[in-house]
Structures are given as C-alpha cells and as structure tokens.
Amino acid sequence: MIANTKEVKDEGFDIKRSAEEVRNLSFKDHICIGCGICESTCPVDAINVAEIGPIVREEVDMPKIDIDEDKCVLCGMCSGLCPVDALDFTIDSEPISNIVSYPHYISSAEIDDDTCIYCQRCEIACPRDSITIARSLPERSDLVTGEIEADEETCIHCGICDEMCPTDAIDVDRTPGEESIEIDKDKCVYCLLCKKICPVDAIKAACRICSYGDYDLNPEDAVTTGSSFIDDETCVKCGWCQEICPVDAAKVKKQYEGTLDIDEDKCTVCGTCIDVCPCDVLSFPESPGPATIVDNIHKDEQYCIHCGACERACPVDAIDVKITNVDYTPTKSKSWIDKFEALKN
C-alpha cells in the first residue's frame, strides 16, 4: 500500500506532499492476472510486473507486481486501466471509479434473478469461482403423493425392496427375531418398484399422480427458487456465465474487446498461456490417443478479455492479443483518452 504523504527526491529536490487529502494505492495480489497493462500505462515507470508463468505454476513465491514507492506519484492511472481491478486507488477513501473526473472503462456482469432458473451451470463454469447460486428446491412430498403400505404379516424381510428402492425410503431390518420393515413416506416417490419386485406381494402402493392424472400435482409447487451472487472483486467479466446460461439470464459487458491470435508455426505448445489465462480461454486440444503429442493450442475466444497476459507470458512470442474496442466513461482529459486509445495498439 502506498499512501499520502509522500516524498520525492530528485536532483537535490526534497519535496514533501502535505495536503490533508489522503490517497491510497493498494494492490490485491490474489486478483492480479499479470497482464502487464499497469506496467505499460504507468506514466512514471513505477510498476514492474513479474514473469507470471512461474508464479501461477507456484514455482516461485513472489508478488505479481512491484510498485516503486519512490517513483509513484499516486496519479491513479494504473487503477483506472487494470482490467480486473487488482489495483485499488482511493482519494479520501473514495474509489476513483466513483470520482467523476477519473474515467473508467465500462464493464459489467449481471445475473437477472427474474430470468434465472438456478441451474448453477454458470457457477460451475466460472473460471474464477465468482458466482454463487443458492437455490431451494420444492418439497418432494408436495409434488408426488400416493399410498404405500407393507404388510408385516406377509413380508418375509428378504430386503429386496430395500436394495431396489431408488430413494432409500425402505429400511428392512433382517436381524433374526427382530425383523421389521419401515417405509419413510417423506422419501417415497411412489414409483412402485418395491411393489413390483416383492416376491410375496407384501407391499401395497399406488401413485396418485399416475392413477388420477394431474389430480394432486400443483405446478406452482414445482418452482425452484433461489438467488444469484457475483463476487465483483474476483469476476473478470470473461463471459462464461453468459455463454453457458440456458435462459439468457447472465449478461456480461467485457472491459476490453479484441482479438486473440496464436501463430501455430511459432507455438511450441508448452502450455504457459493455458496456465496464465484467467478466463480458461486456452486449452490443450483433446489428444487423439495415448502419448500423442498435440500440435496446437485450442482457444475459445468468446471468453477472452484481451488482457494480454498470455501474450506477455509466451516464451516464443507466438501470441498476439489486440484490443479493438474499449468503452469508457466520458472524460475531457485528452491524456486519458490517449491512454485508452493506446491500449488498442
């Protein structure tokens, strides 16, 4: 964390900033994806981003970026352009994203709870584990009703029904002298499997739904309710949730749009890019057989946020990531506009 009040020492100058305004720059290592955008954007060359490959492979244990406190003037530009908000810059405890004079790229990820069917596909797909879908299912006993009864007199306690029951609703105690059969009606779904399999016809059962059509099924009871949550801190706006959502409840606006190209002639298929990619865009293609060496890297470009972390990490310069579009909040600062436009090169 770098905070006011700071000194700059240069050529005999010894300057101290002493305004009451407090500026803070803090860095969240667990959020950083090592893309290097901050390094290239820092106007005073105060930021140095480490080789990200060895860090994500846990070969070395070091912070992903290093900020030279002596050089940093707390301008906030790194924080404004970081695609994953790993750099927090605040002025008097207020994040610069709330300050009008600081422009910020526009990105978002949302799940519409009115449309969401709580299938949890996005939660499973999210490469950053940012999504939590909590759901509550309707009571099974509200949806399926019927009658079931075991005739203890007839039952020989063979246990076949216990073994066959798909919902574990039957418990047969086969201890000699203590034989019993119990059916848990809360678990039973009246599939009648026990009735069919019983060798001595000891079970009497009927399903009301089958017997009476829709008689007892109230469709309103079959609704799954729940809630969705996206952790904005870890979410990288990659679009996996949007792509995988079967009902279009997830909407993602990426921070940086662009292209991702891999030069297959140069690529040595080392897998470094796969390791560093924060969005699971890159993968080894399915190998056609055992011990087959794959000859290219597979990419799912629709999930790419064009951060350039792979390009930076590639040991043979085979990857070319280009940003073609950035939407940002309006600014009159030509310098900021230039910075946003410069990202496109």
Binding site: R17, S18, E20, E21, V73, C75, I91, S101, Y102, S335
Partner: protein
C-alpha cells in the same frame, strides 16, 4: 519563469493540486481528484483537467512539476 499547463497532457489526477505547498496552505483539504472547491488556490482540476486560477500566487518552487507524471504542469 512562468507557471504553465498543458491540458492535452493532463490526466486530471490532481497530484499537483495536493503537492503544491501554496495550494495546501490556502486550502489544506484540497481534493485534487474531486474537482474545484475554491478559486483562491493556484490550480485545481476542472472537468478532468488541470486549470490555473491564481497563478500569481506561485512561488516557482517546482514541486508540481516534480510530481506531475505527464509533464502537464511546468515552469518555463
């Protein structure tokens, strides 16, 4: 020597506003990033870029120039 600004270079970060010892003595709560609060100070961020208000108060110490990351404010 005169205090000059180049608004094309300016990020509007307000570092000069809070670095300037004269500004700070006039208004210790100066908030560079938040925009102008008083026109008594030498410079303030307005509409996202630096603007000079009372440059006659400048003591030509060069502090702003030292802190400015983008050469938007300087003595010439």
């Amino acid at each position: 020597m005169e205090l000059k600004v180049n608004q094309d270079n300016c990020l509007g970060c307000g570092v000069c506003v809070v670095a300037c010892p004269v500004n700070v003595s006039i208004s210790p709560d100066v908030s560079g990033g938040h925009g102008s609060r008083t026109e008594e100070v030498i410079m303030m961020v307005e509409n996202g870029v630096i603007k000079l208000f009372s440059e006659d108060k400048c003591t030509k110490c060069g502090t702003c120039q030292m802190f400015c990351p983008v050469d938007a404010i300087f003595l010439e």
